[in-house]
């Protein structure tokens, strides 16, 4: 019986062997073999309805959808806690502290002022007031109820509309400006918890009395967040309002519409940016003497390169998820070309490239985002890379380092250790350290041909680098071999399924979810590990929308903040 790797990881005192043994996920590729086993969706309890704090990208996606791309919002939200490997789960427990509300209020005023400015009002405000210098309740009502529905993701009740119309009127009279009044009222909506908190509400599931599911608007919300990383658009809200989402066909129609939209790219980017911890790039910088080519522009571009690779491979080419670890296709620009030592035909643009087979670059592990985030500012780190590989791509938890390690064997005053492998041999030789280093270093060392800035090197301190390594029982001799081993690792796909599902439902996976995750894993395999198909499976399942009414306080899980 397979256990979810992550649920295992919740148990703090974890023995390595258990982690490794628990990784066997679905492996079969054979559609016919699978079809018998996986015809029926297992019944699932689900978790409580979620109340998620809107993320920066969701906020921006909302503003762009409602008001168009010319509304500028230069914002940087305070980070939320990463939980179960995902910020998306932290958003479901984040609170709005005073400094954060102050920031929201500032952003809200900036945006609201632009929406009604002379350039935009003709397009965005659907009516003209009787007087521009006084309140105009009829026009205000028209605008606010329309915008309110999209911001609060459901039609507003009369009393809700009325309170914002009243505010618009009072403000307009005070400011002697109709549009200013409208702007103030809109800024109120933008700091309302009904907008800032993406709130789900449960209802009795008519198909299973006694069980609960999300109500139609909450289903639309969960669906839209998963596929677009944005709240529902007008059509999806309409579908929720006229019960279209209650039928399998109706839901499927909307899922197909969302999957076919170019906004799917936002959804795919958001999920992988979260899973791959690309937010950490905000603080990525290297020692400028040791790695002068790793400029801040390069740092910022590393995440974009990875996301472009992912979108192109998964969405445009409909590729196998596992091939993300072996693909030689990527994109570069002139700045990244300095690190990859490759020409960029148009230095200021992103151009597709294909690494040739002589090159040791293949797959996400050999991209700068991974190599540099999990290095030190002035040197590489096989341990950090190995740990990140296990935690990010295999959903395993590497135990905490012991506090009282004797580092004396590690001191190297005469500089006799030339390579990281030599330095780390000391760690693996020390029984206290060996436990963890054995599970991180053998993979990390296979990436030693890439220095702390991700630049290729064949030698370190004059000594030839031995890039051989081992991932669990699979041995290899090059970085490309490591990518292949990860490609073939059973936990690679089960981890993706687990993370994607946790991301969608906004909660960490528990042992009770393992049957469902197994089922999804088999469906994923049956679809040739194509992520859009997995998204469809999730989005069309009833499990995705089922919730429990009684809310048990969820057990806190380990996160990587404050390390």
């Amino acid at each position: 019986m397979r256990k979810s790797a992550n649920s295992v990881s919740n148990i703090a005192a974890l023995v390595l062997a258990v982690v490794l043994m628990s990784c066997s996920g679905p492996q079969a590729d054979n559609e016919s073999q699978l079809s018998q086993a996986t015809q029926h969706e297992p019944g699932v309890g689900g978790g409580p309805p979620r109340v998620r704090l809107i993320t920066q990208e969701q906020y921006l996606n909302t503003v762009e959808y409602l008001f168009g791309p010319t509304i500028k919002a230069d914002i940087k939200f305070a980070p939320v806690r990463r939980e179960g490997g995902l910020l998306a789960l932290g958003a479901a427990s984040a609170v709005v502290v005073p400094a954060v509300l102050t920031q929201f209020e500032h952003i809200a005023r900036t945006i609201a002022a632009q929406v009604v400015d002379p350039v935009h009002r003709d397009v965005l405000v659907p009516c003209t007031p009787v007087s521009e210098t006084a309140s105009g309740p009829a026009c205000a009502r028209m605008f606010l109820s329309e915008v309110g529905r999209l911001l609060f993701r459901r039609p507003l009740r009369q009393d809700e509309i009325q309170r914002y119309v009243r505010t618009a009127g009072e403000s307009a009279d005070k400011a002697k400006d109709f549009y200013a009044g409208l702007s103030y009222s809109l800024s109120g909506m933008l700091i309302s918890p009904k907008f800032l908190y993406l709130t789900e509400v449960a209802e009795v599931d008519p198909a299973h009395p006694g069980s609960y599911r999300l109500n139609a608007h909450s289903r639309a919300l969960r669906l839209s967040l998963l596929l677009w990383n944005a709240p529902p658009d007008d059509q999806l809200l309409t579908a929720a309002e006229n019960s279209e989402l209650d039928s399998k066909e109706g839901l499927s129609r909307q899922v197909e519409r969302l999957l076919a939209s170019s906004r799917l790219e936002n959804g795919i980017r958001a999920f992988f940016a979260d899973m791959l911890v690309l937010d950490a790039i905000d603080n990525l910088a290297k020692d400028r003497v040791i790695y002068p080519a790793f400029t801040l522009k390069v740092a910022a571009d590393t995440g974009e390169q990875t996301l472009r690779t992912i979108v192109d491979h998964l969405m445009v080419r409909r590729g196998d998820y596992r091939d993300l670890f072996t693909t030689r296709r990527s994109f570069i620009n002139g700045d990244l070309g300095m690190i990859y030592r490759l020409p960029a035909e148009r230095p200021h643009e992103w151009v597709p490239i294909e690494f040739d087979s002589a090159n040791q670059r293949a797959g996400l592990l050999t991209q700068l985002s991974f190599l540099t985030l999990y290095s030190h500012p002035g040197r590489s780190s096989p341990t950090r890379r190995g740990k990140a590989l296990r935690e990010i791509f295999l959903c395993q938890k590497v135990p905490e380092p012991p506090p009282n390690v004797d580092f004396s064997g590690f001191e190297d005053p005469s500089g006799e250790f030339k390579t990281a492998r030599q330095r780390l041999t000391i760690h693996r030789g020390n029984p206290v350290c060996a436990g963890c280093h054995k599970i991180t270093d053998p993979m990390g060392l296979a990436l030693e041909n890439f220095d702390g800035a991700g630049q290729f090197r064949s030698k370190e301190n004059g000594e030839l680098i031995d890039a051989s390594g081992k991932l669990d029982e699979v041995e290899f001799t090059t970085p490309v071999g490591l990518g292949q081993a990860l490609h073939d690792h059973p936990a690679t796909t089960s981890c993706l399924v687990e993370r994607l599902y946790a991301y969608g439902v906004g909660r960490d996976m528990e042992p009770a979810d393992s049957e469902w995750l197994d089922y999804l894993g088999q469906r994923f395999a049956a679809h040739g590990y194509r992520v859009p198909d997995l998204l469809r499976e999730i989005a069309e399942s009833s499990a995705f929308y089922s919730v429990i009414k009684e809310i048990a306080a969820p057990v806190k899980t380990a996160a990587v903040s404050h390390q």
Partner: protein, 447 residues
């Protein structure tokens, strides 16, 4: 206190027959009593409380003064504070007791000192942190409840929180921090003219439908989320109070002068030079924010716990160095590690000096402040949390004696936390959990 000040002003305004009060700067002394210790109303000048953090401890053989009590000696790593030593207390040999919880490297130590108990796991922050407890008491009545700053430039580096989900986000850019304080919403407390901004009145009125929305929402969400929403309510009220405050003429602030705006943006990175540059720029704005009554509580982080600060051209980070650098046989300490510690102490000295350089009443801003500084480890090489170095600067308006070295003799470090919180005005019988409960002040520094 604010209220009394406003009443006092109203009296003045009455005397001037309701015309706009135009008070020239030199007359500001009129607001102070003869001794310059308090406003004429009798209310004492406000106490400011803050924390200052640096990561990775120290090298005890060249950090811990040999002499305890007043006039302590300054070993090499403390040399930097020589010019402000008379304002600084040093606390050594206090412990963090985990009561059977794991010693999480670079985590349990500082969390223990800020929360009064060690965390059960790495994701836990059993808050509120000291500064939040203080700001709950003295933080009202100013534009900002507290100001958080991270000289590392990393948004995740804040050790001020109510819980792990309610961390106060730090400002990370000196330019943005300047704009936040002295940008368009700043009201010069010494400006002779004051007209309430009608826009602020409207902004305040906009909050009422929002409050109604929050009440609606509370009805449809689960218990745990209701608790989260309560924090939203608190924040909303805070915003309301802040806007209300901006509608009143701010009380004059003798030492307030708007500093020159900085346009110097420090690039991302934790090279020690960049961090020091950021720290200095932020400190300069912060001291003026304090002098201008923009906040009474602040948290400055110079380097984070387990800090990855680097020395230009050196391939190891400070953290890596603490573990891998050999102890120099002749000198008896880690030389490169000590370089980083000394850099931190240089910046600590800069910080204290900056506070001491602002004249206020008959003393300085530092005299009416209390800054609690500490690290995450004692000797980072072995992750020891016994004897994490702590310091205070400033006398909290005469409540704290300064220039003293205290040997904690292995007692819980929470005693220092309790002492500073009480001195800052938090009425508190005891603080801490389990073995970390502290009931007594560090009497050596009580004035």
């Amino acid at each position: 206190m604010t209220k009394q000040l406003l009443n006092r002003r109203r009296v003045l305004r009455g005397m001037l027959n309701g015309t706009v009060v135009t008070v020239a700067l030199p007359i500001l002394d009129c607001f102070l009593d003869g001794n310059g210790q308090a406003f004429a109303s009798g209310a004492p000048l406000p106490i400011r409380f803050g924390t200052w953090f640096w990561g990775l401890g120290m090298n005890s053989s060249i950090f811990i003064p040999k002499k305890t009590g007043p006039d302590y000696d300054l070993p090499e790593e403390l040399k930097a504070i020589s010019s402000v030593k008379q304002h600084v207390n040093v606390f050594t040999n206090f412990r963090v007791l985990t009561d059977g919880r794991p010693n999480l490297c670079h985590y349990s130590g500082w969390v223990g000192l800020r929360c009064g108990q060690a965390p059960a796991g790495r994701s836990q922050l059993p808050g509120p942190s000291i500064d939040v407890l203080v700001s709950d008491v003295i933080g009202g009545g100013t534009r900002f409840r507290s100001l958080e700053l991270a000289a590392t430039g990393n948004q995740r580096h804040s050790y001020s929180f109510r819980s792990e989900d309610a961390i106060n986000p730090p400002d990370i850019s000196p330019v943005d921090f300047y704009t936040k304080i002295f940008g368009s919403e700043f009201q010069d407390p010494n400006s002779p003219h004051f007209t309430p901004d009608p826009k602020i009145m409207i902004r305040k009125s906009v909050l009422s439908p929002v409050m109604e929305d929050a009440r609606d929402l509370k009805k449809v969400i689960g218990h745990k989320d209701q608790i989260r929403l309560d924090q939203y309510f608190t924040s909303l009220r805070e915003l309301e109070n802040r806007l209300a405050l901006q509608l009143q003429k701010p009380p004059p602030a003798e030492a307030c002068s708007i500093p020159q705006g900085t346009e110097e943006n420090v690039p991302v990175g934790v090279d020690s030079e960049l961090v020091a540059q950021r720290h200095k720029l932020m400190t300069d704005v912060l001291v003026m924010a304090l002098a201008c009554n923009q906040t009474r509580v602040f948290n400055m982080l110079y380097s984070d716990s387990g800090s990855d600060l680097t020395k230009k051209g050196h391939d190891q980070t400070h953290h890596g160095i603490t573990h891998e650098e050999a102890i120099d046989e002749k000198l008896g300490y880690q030389v490169l590690n000590s370089w980083f510690v000394r850099k931190a102490m240089d910046e600590w000295a800069y910080f204290v000096t900056a506070l001491a350089s602002i004249r206020e009443g008959d003393g300085t801003l530092l005299d009416r402040s209390l800054v609690f500084a500490h690290s995450d480890q004692e000797f980072a090489k072995v992750h020891s949390i016994d004897g994490i170095p702590m310091m205070t600067a400033g006398s909290a308006g005469g409540r704290i004696k300064t220039g003293i070295h205290v040997d904690g003799r292995g007692e819980a470090g929470t005693r220092v936390g309790l002492t500073v919180m009480r001195a800052a005005g938090v009425p508190m019988m005891e603080w801490g959990v389990g073995s970390m409960v502290a009931k007594r002040d560090v009497s050596e520094i009580i004035a």
